[in-house]
Amino acid sequence: MTARRAGLVACTTCCKVHHPGEATCLRCGSPLHSRDPAGLQNVWAWWIAGLIMYIPANIYPMLRTASLGHETQNTIIGGVFELIAYNSYGVALIVFIASVIIPVGKFVAIAFLALSINRASILSARARLHLYEVVEFIGRWSMLDVFVVAILSALVQFEFVANVHPGIAAVSFALSVAFTMLSAQSFDPRLIWDTDEADPT
């Protein structure tokens, strides 16, 4: 049983349930749609944008560290390898998970969810909903790297002695994360159940 099947439309903004026929929410004035008219378009659009931004985020240096006139530039992966070289396996693991595994996992998860809307899925609707919830929850934590860069850039400004500047990758990465978050938000989890209904079990 869904709202759609019950002939009701819930406002996605304030959750007031309306009778069909209302174009806008009587309480908050948001447009009412039983399902997002753009459908999966937005999800894919944000997803592609995020993926595009993720490429330079990995190619270009994330951090430019100048210490006593000695300047080093590190990409995300480069930084991970450097940390490994310094035997900081724990930190390397955190950075690797936060900056590589999570974003990549999000791309894969969102793509999987979006693709599984109109066809049979190996996962149950409930499992997919959990997946979606995890993606949405964990998405913000991908910003960990960006935060580190931002804080370092703000705090470590000791002129000649030590200097940290964000690289192009930092911006790219932040955008990439933002786009994937938007992508995840654009995904209407109700669609999961539509398929479920259409395919009665």
Binding site: M1, R4, R5, A6, G7, H19, P20, G21, S34, R35, P37, A38, G39, Q41, N42, A45, W46, I48, A49, I52, M53, I55, P56, L68, G69, H70, E71, T72, Q73, I168, S172, L175, F179, S186
Partner: protein, 695 residues
């Protein structure tokens, strides 16, 4: 679910089948993202710059991705790759250079790795201690096409290619070697620096390239001299102890200075080679230009030996060096009967050093020398210094020099006339002087001098000595007056006049045929002459006695002085009083009277026979008279001697009143004698003929 909640008719808009019509605005975002990404990628690619390759022997500290390439301290690129050449002999460094800069990097470009360097002149490249090395570059913006493969330098080039100035080469023949990077000073201002020294091809000299920065390079001429100011120099000479210390930097790392000591140098061209002298004095002395293109060669011939003269010895003109000896050779001259070995010496002369105006030609210089030779200038050997045996040649002005010309057409070179020098004598004299100085008994001399001084003081302080001078002066004046008397001096002349008259008379007698009585007359004349002779003979005896007495007196001791002096005076008186002395004038007079009588007889008589015999006899007589008279000056001289001795005597004994009186008495006697002689002379003078003719 309640009944009234009927499912309403769903107003569900089915998803449009046309993707274009229902395209969401959100698609703008990925498109923008893609565009931006592509733009960034394309920009990164297009800005990537140009890859150049530099090969280094040693690329210590160069790291790919970190080491930067700088030009004028601005980063223009980054090392992208560090690898080896195929044979592993050099390190190939690939550098990504900004594409704005890359077109200017041409074949003149120099690359070197900057490392920290501490030297006496300061610390450089300190920033690289912490930041790591970087590659520095320098090139001339000649507009030449860009090149992308270079060979890097081991260290910073000492001369910046963009510096304006003149590159020169210093030549060091011996002594210490200047290291690279040494500052060059002009009047104490730093105007350049040297590059790394290198050997010339033969390995006989060290060449050091150097850069004189503009605008100071305008002070360079071919007449410029360079010298080493490294460290400090201590010299001990006639001027005393001299200590030369340059700046602190030159004390440690060395330095080079230059100056132009004389005018007339030509402008230099890049690459001009200069000799580097050991110190300023040498440079100044060596102002003779080895590089002068207008050196002229002259020669001279010395008859004397030239041992000690060597090529390179100075040719001085009025004390200034104007050239140096070039060659020495000997040849035998065959224009005289006895072959003589001549020394041909040739000189290199620098017209600039003769003070000729700038740009004087060789011809003008030869003219100048020609004029100088006309004015008496000759070449002469001289000692280089008092203590060495080496010689130099000097052009000196000889007064009243034998006429000579500057032979400009001579072979092989124009010939300057030479004069002999008294060089060997100089040697001998020097040796003699040295020996004499050695032989002097200085101590003894001083002892004697001290004794003498004491004696003089004792004598001078005695009262007697103080009283003496006045009297002595009076005495001497008297004596002088006597001797200087006109009559005394005129005596010989007068006597000669008498003889002349006598001869004239005899000649007259000859003509008057007075020969007959001549034999008898002559006999008598002979007798008269004999007596006259004897009388005259006595005078020297008197004088001799006087002298003996004087000598005796001189030998007496102080106690006997008075007695001896008195005795002397007495003796003198006695002597003067002797018949011989007193009768001298009367004897003369009587002799003359006799002669006069004889001649009177002759005149009156007619004795003309035996004229020849008479004549010869008369001659003999005249000779006798002359001899007798010749004794008179002797008498006068002896009298003078007596006076002198008396003076000496008086000087010895001082002012004893008795002695003085005696002396004066004696002198009075002497004077009387002299007066007698003078009277006789005057008589003869007044009427010489009277002796002969009795009138």
């Amino acid at each position: 679910m309640s009944e009234d909640l009927k499912p309403a008719d769903m107003d569900v808009t089915p998803p449009s089948r046309s993707p274009w019509r229902n395209l969401s605005l959100v698609w703008v975002v990925p498109v923008l993202a893609l565009l931006i990404s592509l733009m960034v990628a394309w920009k990164a690619y297009s800005d990537r710059g140009v890859l150049i390759e530099i090969s280094f022997d040693n690329a210590a500290g160069v790291t790919a991705g970190e080491t930067t390439l700088r030009y004028r301290e601005v980063t223009i690129g980054t090392v992208e790759k560090v690898g080896f050449s195929d044979d592993l002999k050099t390190v190939e460094v690939a550098v990504r250079v900004q594409k704005e800069v890359a077109p200017f990097i041409n074949e003149t470009a120099q690359f070197w790795v900057v490392r920290p360097e501490v030297s006496a002149e300061g610390v450089s490249g300190l920033s690289t201690v912490l930041s790591g090395v970087y590659i520095d570059s320098s090139w001339e913006n000649t507009g030449a096409p860009a090149v992308d493969s270079f060979v890097g330098l081991e260290s910073r080039p000492l001369i910046d290619l963009n510096e304006k100035g003149t590159r020169i080469t210093l030549r060091v023949s011996g002594g210490k070697v200047i290291s690279g990077g040494v500052p060059i000073f002009y009047r104490g201002i730093r105007v350049g620096r040297t590059e790394t020294p290198r050997l010339n091809k033969a390995g006989s000299a060290v060449l050091i390239d150097a850069m004189i920065e503009a605008p100071y390079d305008k002070y360079l001429t071919t007449a410029t001299r360079f010298w080493d100011t490294s460290g400090f120099a201590v010299s001990l000479g006639a001027a005393g102890l001299k200590l030369d210390v340059g700046s602190f930097a030159t004390l440690i790392s060395g330095g080079v200075s230059f100056n132009t000591f004389f005018s007339g140098g030509a402008p230099v061209t890049p690459g001009q080679v200069y000799e580097l002298y050991n110190d300023e004095d040498t440079a100044r002395e060596n102002a003779f230009s080895r590089v002068s293109s207008r050196t002229l060669t002259v020669a001279t011939i010395f008859q004397e030996g030239v041992s000690g003269l060597s090529p390179g010895a100075a040719l001085n003109f009025k004390g200034l060096k104007i050239g140096e000896v070039d060659t020495l050779s000997a040849f035998v001259s065959d224009d005289s009967e006895t072959p003589q070995v001549n020394q041909l010496v040739t000189f290199k002369v620098d017209p600039d050093l003769m003070g000729l105006p700038e740009g004087a030609t060789t011809e003008e210089a030869l003219d100048f020398i020609g004029q100088a030779v006309k004015g008496g200038v000759r070449a002469r050997l001289n000692k280089a210094s008092l203590l060495t045996s080496s010689l130099i040649v000097e052009l000196v002005e000889i007064e009243n020099a034998a006429p000579a010309v500057f032979d400009r057409e001579a072979e092989p070179y124009p010939m300057i006339p030479s004069v002999e020098t008294d060089l060997p004598d100089l040697n001998a004299t020097m040796e003699g002087v040295m020996e004499r100085i050695n032989g002097l008994k200085i101590e003894e001399l001083i002892a004697r001098a001290t004794g003498m001084m004491a004696s003089i003081e004792a004598i001078a302080s005695s009262e007697k000595v103080r009283a003496a001078p006045g009297e002595i002066v009076g005495l001497i004046e008297d004596a002088r007056a006597l001797v200087a008397g006109e009559a005394m001096q005129a005596l010989p002349g007068d006597l000669r006049g008498v003889i002349e008259e006598l001869r004239g008379t005899i000649a007259k007698a000859n003509t008057e045929n007075l020969v007959e009585q001549l034999v008898a007359t002559l006999k008598r004349a002979e007798e008269a002459a004999d007596s006259l002779y004897t009388a005259a003979d006595d005078v020297p005896a008197v004088v001799a006695e006087l002298r003996q007495v004087a000598a005796k007196v001189a030998g007496l001791k102080a106690e006997e002085l008075l007695d001896a002096a008195t005795g002397l005076m007495n003796s003198a008186n006695a002597l003067i009083d002797t018949d011989g002395a007193r009768e001298l004038p009367p004897a003369l007079a009587s002799a003359l009277v006799e002669v006069r009588d004889l001649l009177g007889d002759l005149r009156e008589g007619e004795a003309v026979r035996n004229v020849n015999v008479a004549l010869s006899s008369a001659k003999d007589a005249a000779v006798s008279v002359e001899t007798a008279v010749a004794g008179l000056p002797g008498v006068v001289n002896r009298l003078e001697g007596i006076v002198t001795e008396a003076e000496a005597l008086i000087a010895t004994y001082g002012a004893r009143s008795d002695f003085n009186a005696e002396t004066l008495a004696m002198l009075r006697e002497v004077r009387t004698t002299a007066r007698s002689i003078a009277a006789l002379v005057r008589t003869l003078e007044r009427s010489p003929n009277s002796i002969l003719f009795g009138k």
